[in-house]
């Protein structure tokens, strides 16, 4: 609940604040409205648009602007604020509140690649020497056993010499390595982790995740196949930022707001370029595996580069922020992705029927297709077609399920359904229908899960990607209406009333649509609206 009437509220509590503030201005009946003066107006604009209170100098500058430009000063002030990079604070926070970009809980860096400081687990000696628990478990005999705090020794073949300890573990020493994340410096790394093998002793390519899991490959030149905790945190921050950048880019480039939801481009930072080049292939869950664009486009982007580069993603289904790693990983199923889109950009939450769901023992509750299952269908009749738009993206991952590698039907995977007791390929288990629990599922054995129960219309949606859903929302006006409502709620600190939706907001939504989705213009219109300068008390 937003505060109903801050000024009156302060006045009511004035006795408690006798020393804290001057007497509050006039207080009267409920639902009164008062105009705010120029200083309060500037404070509202600055907190709303720049995410902070104004400085004394900014109050003075606005007063001066008012003195020289009169009424025109209001538009001039808002225009200046919207043109400032400080407005990015609004764009970021507003869209974070819509897209919920939480990536902190994700394991972007595989456990086979993470380098932890020895001190993390209380090891004696220099706490900063780096080790990997997977290598420790496979080679030293204990999960959290780093190397000894001594320079490593090597045998004639150049392999680190391991010394047995009474506790049954085997330890080697450390070496100094110049890591890719801090060129010009050296870090202590356990010698087993510092190896630069291209293949495992058994001949497996060290780019293969299975070889890396054996702990025999090492981190490669400059530790490129590994990441320190700081690198892992930086990657999370960049993935989060990347998911919001389409909105900043659209605003700054004067592109329609819808571009942020349909654009084929993705912004890539130096750390993300390194991640896609060297680390993504080892991330098994969530499944990331590869860059969604041609890596040669970021060949010259080193980890330490400060540049963000826009690159074209190759799959035709990519659609702005809606297929960014941050979005796909935060919302791990196609239904969750569609559900967030409906809530954030169409203002249409899916709500269960008031009468509740029928008993699970009810015959109709056995229907495997949720579009037809009684009770569930109240949402899923709309949700399933919407979710289809994300059907070409792996669930619990970011991988694009391109038709060549992931055909709609796999005879091999269909065999899994036929012989449930036989071992089944993990790819089949993850992506294809391999279990048939209901006769209606029988025709879908061996079919890509994303295609199960889908008719021609939904298959077309699936192949078109989320941009098609955006286009439909543009055509019927829902996207413009919802964006207007969301900005209204942000600036007016309350939900619009039904009448406001029908009259004032409908006008703003129409103008937003006619402006080719000029989002900054929408914010401007509401920030300059007479209503923004009136305060409910």
């Amino acid at each position: 609940m937003r505060l109903a009437a801050g000024t009156l509220l302060v006045a009511l509590c004035g006795a408690a604040a006798a020393h804290a503030q001057p007497a509050a201005p006039e207080a009267s009946a409920c639902a009164d409205e008062v105009g705010v003066d120029d200083d309060r107006l500037l404070r509202q604009w600055t907190i709303d648009l720049w995410g902070r209170a104004p400085s004394v100098d900014e109050y003075a500058a606005f007063a001066s602007l008012r003195a020289t430009q009169g009424e025109a000063a209001y538009a001039a002030q808002v225009d200046a604020m919207l043109a400032s990079s400080a407005f990015d604070a609004f764009l970021e926070r507003y869209h974070a509140d819509l897209l919920w970009p939480s990536v902190e809980a994700l394991t972007l860096v595989s456990p086979t690649s993470i380098l932890l400081p020895a001190g993390f687990y209380g090891a004696a000696g220099d706490a900063t020497r780096l080790f990997n628990p997977f290598v420790a478990f496979q080679q030293r005999g204990e999960l959290f056993a780093p190397c000894d705090d001594a320079p490593a020794e090597f045998d004639a073949a150049g392999e680190p010499v391991l010394f047995s300890r009474p506790d049954g573990t085997r330890r080697e020493g450390w070496v100094l390595v110049e890591p890719y994340w801090a060129p010009g410096t050296q870090v202590k790394v356990c010698a087993l982790e510092a190896r630069i093998a291209a293949t495992s002793p058994a001949g497996q390519d060290c780019l293969n995740p299975q070889a890396q899991q054996l702990g025999v490959c090492g981190c490669g030149p400059g530790l490129e196949r590994c990441a320190s905790l700081e690198v892992a945190q930086r990657l999370q921050a960049d993935v989060r930022a990347q998911g919001l950048r389409p909105f900043l880019r659209a605003a700054r480039e004067g592109q329609p707001y819808t571009t942020a939801l349909t654009d084929a481009r993705e912004d890539v930072s130096g750390p993300l370029a390194h991640y896609y080049r060297h680390l993504a292939r080892y991330a098994l869950d969530p499944l990331i595996a590869e860059a969604p664009f041609d890596l040669t486009a970021v060949d010259d982007l080193d980890y330490t580069s400060a540049e963000w580069r826009s690159v074209d993603r190759t799959a035709p289904q990519h659609a702005g922020a809606l297929t960014s790693p941050a979005f796909l990983l935060r919302f791990q199923t196609a239904r969750a992705r569609a559900n967030r889109f409906y809530n954030a950009f169409l203002c249409e939450p899916f709500v269960a029927p008031a009468e509740g769901l029928p008993s699970p023992n009810d015959a109709c509750s056995q229907e495997p297709d949720l579009r037809g299952r009684c009770g569930c269908n109240s949402c899923h009749a709309r949700l399933e077609p919407a979710a289809a738009h994300w059907g070409r993206f792996a669930e619990a991952g970011t991988l694009t399920l391109d038709p060549e590698r992931f055909p709609v039907f796999s005879a091999r995977c269909a065999q899994c359904a036929e012989r449930p007791d036989a071992p089944c390929d993990p790819v089949c288990e993850r992506f294809y229908v391999t279990e048939v629990g209901h006769p209606k599922q029988r025709p879908f054995a061996g079919v890509l899960k994303a295609f199960e129960f889908r008719g021609p219309d939904e298959v077309a949606r699936l192949e078109a990607g989320p941009a098609d859903l955006v286009a439909r929302s543009v055509d019927d006006g829902r996207l413009a209406a919802c964006a207007t409502q969301q900005v209204f709620r942000r600036l007016m600190q309350r939900a619009p009333t039904t009448q406001e939706q029908v009259f004032e907001l409908a006008e703003h939504a129409r103008a937003f649509q006619e402006s080719d989705f000029d989002f900054v213009g929408l914010v401007r219109a509401l920030a300059l609206s007479p209503g923004y300068r009136r305060m409910l008390r």
């Binding site: 804290a20 404070r43 902070r52 209170a53 169409l346 939450p349 829902r478 309350r494």
Partner: protein, 234 residues
């Protein structure tokens, strides 16, 4: 209960009581349905027909809101001229306390908390009180040592230690603008509005140890401003 805590509790109760006022404009916290399609369960408060006659004059108006924790953290350095609430909890590393407390104060992490709780709360009042106790001491110390042109707390043309009514009034007016965007007019009406703060300054400085009069007076005034709910309400 301290004064700020009592004040925030009062604020919370007042806000709750005032929800009755919302009825005139409909509920403020629930999004109204805007389904252009035909959902299986149409909303009960479906909008009237678009071609209905406009209602009698009910102009849009903004409700008072509370700053987010993020905005508060960004605002404090602007208001204080660069001070952030940081603490060294050991190891020589300065921790940004508001950032560390953000989850406690209701800021969203978009995993467990997806919408910031912007209700007035005693826990925010409590931590603002803590912030005031820590920040105001630093602000007073820094301001006293600063050149006159660089002061941000005691801004008047006289010596920092000046306690004459004119100098104090000038600085209080500046603080009201700095904290709340409130421009207190010159003259009797403005002076009357500032009287509680003048009294606070006078009380604190008159009971201070010799030599600390101005310092204690401005410390009290700073804490009063920092713990005023109007700092975060806008």
């Amino acid at each position: 209960m301290t004064r700020p805590a009592a004040l925030w509790g009062c604020a919370a109760l007042a806000a709750l009581a005032l929800t009755a006022c919302d009825d005139a404009r409909g509920p403020r916290s629930q999004p109204a349905a805007a389904d252009a399609t035909t959902p299986p369960h149409p909303p009960t408060d479906a909008p009237p027909e678009a071609d209905a006659a406009p209602p009698p004059s009910t102009p849009l108006a903004r409700a008072a809101g509370r700053m987010t924790v993020e905005a508060l953290a960004r605002s404090i350095p602007v208001i204080t001229g660069g001070l952030r609430w940081t603490e060294d909890f050991g190891g020589g590393v300065e921790t940004d306390v508001l950032q560390a407390l953000a989850p406690t104060l209701g800021a969203p992490d978009y995993l467990r908390v997806t919408e910031e709780n912007l209700e007035p709360s005693l826990i925010l009042a409590k931590f603002l009180n803590d912030a005031a106790q820590r920040l105001c001491v630093r602000w007073v110390e820094r301001d006293e040592a600063a050149a006159a042109a660089d002061r941000t707390l005691v801004v008047h043309p006289g010596d920092w230690v000046a306690r004459d009514p004119a100098a104090v009034g000038t600085a209080l007016r500046e603080l009201q603008l700095r904290f709340f965007g409130r421009r207190v007019p010159e003259g009797a009406a403005g002076d009357a509005a500032l009287e509680p703060l003048r009294a606070l300054f006078q009380d604190a400085s008159s009971t201070a140890a010799p030599g600390r009069e101005a310092r204690d007076g401005w410390l009290a005034v700073c804490i009063a401003h920092m713990t005023d709910p109007e700092l975060v309400i806008y």
